[in-house]
Amino acid sequence: MMNIVEEAIYRRATYNSRRHFLKQCTTGLGALALGSLIGCNSGGRFSAGGKQAGLNFAMPHFTPKAKSVIFLHMAGGPSHLELFDYKPELQKLDGKDTPPSLMEGKNFAFLKGTPKLLGPRAGFHQVGGSGAMVSDYLPHFSKVIDEVTLLKAMHTDEFNHAPAQLLMQTGSARLGKPSLGSWTVYGLGSENDNLPGFVVLSSGGGAISAGKSAWGSGFLPTVYQGVQCRSKGEPVLFLSNPHKIDEHLRKRSIDVINEINQKEYENIGDPEILSRVAQYELAFKMQATVPDVMDIQQEPAYIHEMYGTDPGASSFANNCLLARRLVEKGVRFIQLYDNRWDTHGVGEGNGVGEGMRRSCEAIDKPMTALILDLKQRGLLEETLVIWGGEFGRTPMMEARTGVGYDGRDHHLEAFTMWMAGAGIKRGFSYGETDEIGYYGVKDRMHVHDLHATILHQLGLDHERLTYEFQGRNFRLTDVHGNVPQDILA
């Protein structure tokens, strides 16, 4: 006896019989068949010297400065106005109404009406030989300010987290494009056969808004996607042997599966099958190598002290230390996400005041230690470190419920990032914003420019690193991207 819902589903299904399907799809099927005949899904060609499934021995376009990249992404969008972009003028305007000219024709996630301007909630001090103004929220980082180049007039196209994070990580606000790390490994290959070339580490709680697509491989073969590792519990999920299966049996099973896959590839020719074979092989090798490299307990006590780690937990400090260990093991691209920077001020301690100061405590010492530790090991010269969020925060206060808690809304016109190491100038500041930190007024740098610069330091020309997909060549930077020569040492 069917109930009424089941009956409805059944009735509906009878309208779409196989005959209907075939009849309605005649032209579509033809096109699909033609597409596979002429090789639309052939997986594209390689422009860099990469090998399809093995990652070795791809070559850069010119002499690389960076061998590895560590990208510290502060998910949520930290306020530039409380960290690196000192605006005394904004302090004077604190509490005043925002002039309509700054609101008209602009898109904000939450701001509406006439918000009040919000002066910087952090104190600033001039630090380092370069004389940069840095927030009191970052007492440790202030001491290494002479190692970095501040990019103070970054701007983006998106004012919501997920699209802005996608733009920052894949060069496109829409889903489906390969991430920065995937492009890098595609262009340069991996140094270490036993570890993934692109590792992702998260902290700060919760998944980032853009989800796993932020480190996906898009239309590149899946062998280039990021592998998420955890600093708490098993480093990589589903990597260890199942209960009562020993290494020997595991190895034999994988061999058989790979053999079947190889035959399938010979039959069908889909390169994704080779990716699958490579991933099984890599996963097996990683069983031995990953637990070792991810075990930060091996580090001496003074290193733990330096980073402020918390072994066994999931923390930004642990991830910074892991990043350094991975660089030492030849991992090409290490992507960190720290998810705690969305300071809307929807409640007490959620704004750019005390709340943000506490967030800074979680990253200040670790990221400073990362720079110093890379430096003393001689690795900073060939490791590019990038820090920043997906956008900045407004100079206006957001008071969603009518009561303000020092919150700032998302802001795409201006924000600050920094880069260090691998041929980037030391103790330099690039770009300026207006007197309230709303617009970049000098040396603005778009996300595409950042991507072009990162690839450039890796020895890759962003205009030549292409992948043919669905009939045309794609680039990380699409049709954009300039490398600002002024920030290169």
Binding site: P60, T63, P300, K329, K365, K375, E381, G459
Partner: protein, 480 residues
């Protein structure tokens, strides 16, 4: 120059370069048909000849009319223009007359005009050639055609041999600010309109003197005075501005070129001066390097030389021994060598296999590789090395002295070894050494200070910077 020419006339006139190719095509075809149709095989073409000639004549008249309109815009060399104009008109007249005779007056002097028009066709060809040549000179300049011709041809044409190009600049200091930097930029961006043949705005920008002289609106260059130097004012306008130069959508000066032009004029615009004798500010020199295409100072990451490709069998030998070997960039033959990440150590490998490819190996990473002092004897023979990483090995001053022969060495990482101050007095003799890493060694602060005083170019990292840690010294020294 004629003023107040209606825009419409110029608009239509600018179709002249397009339309002008019609009579060229038709008349050349007519000449070919006229002669070829004398052959039996092509006799049938004869009937088409008058029609082709008619098309040629009509298009020639049209081209003349449009050409006259175009010439009203001025700015063309009057002498060349005179010849181009009258030869063109002559060509149109000859074509029309010939057509009329052939069709309307079949008998001239008792002989068939059709049979006897060969001379007229030859005349058409000659007129066509000269008209076309002068037209080309008007547009591209009189030197365009023979610019790349072999010297004997140039000399026959009275142009003299090709100018000897200035030797390519390899070092920034030896470049001349005007002859090597400013002049080539002006040549490529301005001279196509401001030359002897096409002197737009009565302005010549081919020599320094011409720049001082300027054009209709006054001097183009006033040394030391950006405000009055029109050449600077016009190129820095917004590109949408009517007075922006270069006009007509041609590629403008780059940011680098603008900055250099500004710097040159501000510094009294010397007509010739080596950069070595000028005060080149720190922000200008990278711009000069980019415009001149010279390598930014000197890329310390590779040796300043080229090498032949290493024999692939020799590379295979080294790979078989367990070394990981990669080419650094596709265009050069330099190699990078490191130990595999599988845990294989140098103690299990035969280091000698690297010696046959020592010219090519420039980057070497043997960190954590159980390298012994004795191995440094071999590594010291890899004299092309620019980057050498020996961190975390059991090495002492005894081994380090073998590195003295690596004259190209720029980066040396000895952290986590047992070297002491004694090594510093050896390493200071490496002429190109710039980065030296000595964390967790026996090297003392005093030793480093002494070396820094003697060799300020060397960046020494001692891992001294745990400023936020309580026990700085114990941290650094008791590393393990």
């Amino acid at each position: 120059m004629l003023v107040d020419v209606p825009d419409f006339v110029l608009f239509v006139g600018r179709f002249h370069p397009l339309v002008v190719h019609l009579p060229i095509g038709f008349l050349v075809l007519a000449v070919i048909v006229a002669f070829v149709s004398k052959l039996e095989k092509f006799q049938k073409l004869e009937v088409a000849l008058d029609f082709i000639l008619l098309l040629g004549a009509i298009s020639a008249i049209l081209a003349c009319a449009l050409g006259f309109m175009l010439s009203q815009g001025g700015d063309y060399d009057p002498n060349t223009l005179f010849w181009h104009q009258w030869l063109g008109i002559g060509l149109a007249v000859v074509s029309v007359v010939l057509y009329c005779i052939r069709t309307k007056a079949p008998q001239v002097g008792g002989i068939s005009a059709k049979l006897n028009s060969s001379y007229a066709f030859v005349l058409i060809l000659v007129l066509l050639t000269f008209t076309g040549h002068y037209g080309g000179n008007l547009t591209h300049g009189s030197t365009y055609l023979l610019q790349y011709a072999p010297d004997p041809i140039r000399i026959m044409a009275g142009m003299g041999p090709k100018a000897v190009p200035r030797p390519p600049v390899t070092v920034l200091d030896s470049a001349d600010i005007f002859l090597d930097v400013i002049h080539p930029v002006i040549q490529s961006k301005c001279s196509s309109c401001h030359n002897q043949d096409k002197t737009k705005g009565q302005l010549l920008l081919t020599t320094y003197e011409n720049m001082l002289l300027g054009g209709e609106e006054g001097p183009s260059l006033v040394p030391g005075d950006l405000e009055r130097s029109l050449m600077y004012q016009r190129v820095t306008l917004p590109s949408t501005h009517g007075d922006y130069m270069p006009a007509e959508g041609k590629t403008g000066l780059t940011d680098d070129e603008l900055a250099i032009l500004e710097w040159w004029i501000t510094n009294d615009a010397p007509p010739s001066m080596q950069l070595a004798f000028m005060q080149v500010e720190i922000d200008i020199s990278p711009k000069l390097e980019r415009v001149l295409g010279v390598r930014a100072s000197f890329d310390s990451r590779l040796p300043d030389k080229e090498v032949a490709s290493a024999d692939s069998s020799l590379i295979q030998d080294a790979v078989a021994e367990g070394f990981v070997i990669k080419k650094i960039v596709p265009e050069s033959n330099f190699l990078e060598v490191r130990l595999p990440f599988t845990g294989q150590k140098l103690s299990d490998m035969e280091l000698q296999v690297l010696l046959p490819i020592k010219d090519q190996i420039v980057w070497l990473d043997f960190s954590r590789g159980q390298v012994q002092n004795a191995d440094l004897e071999v590594i010291g023979q890899l004299t092309s090395l620019t980057r050498l990483n020996l961190a975390n090995n059991e090495l002492t001053d005894e081994g380090v002295r073998h590195l003295l022969g690596i004259g190209e060495l720029n980066y040396l990482n000895l952290y986590g070894t047992q070297v002491s101050d004694a090594s510093l007095s050896v390493l200071k003799n490496l002429p190109k050494l710039r980065s030296l890493y000595l964390w967790q060694t026996e090297v003392t602060d005093a030793g480093v200070a002494a070396l820094k005083a003697e060799k300020p170019d060397i960046n020494i990292t001692l891992g001294e910077e745990f400023l936020f840690l309580p026990e700085q010294d114990s941290v650094r020294k008791n590393g393990e």
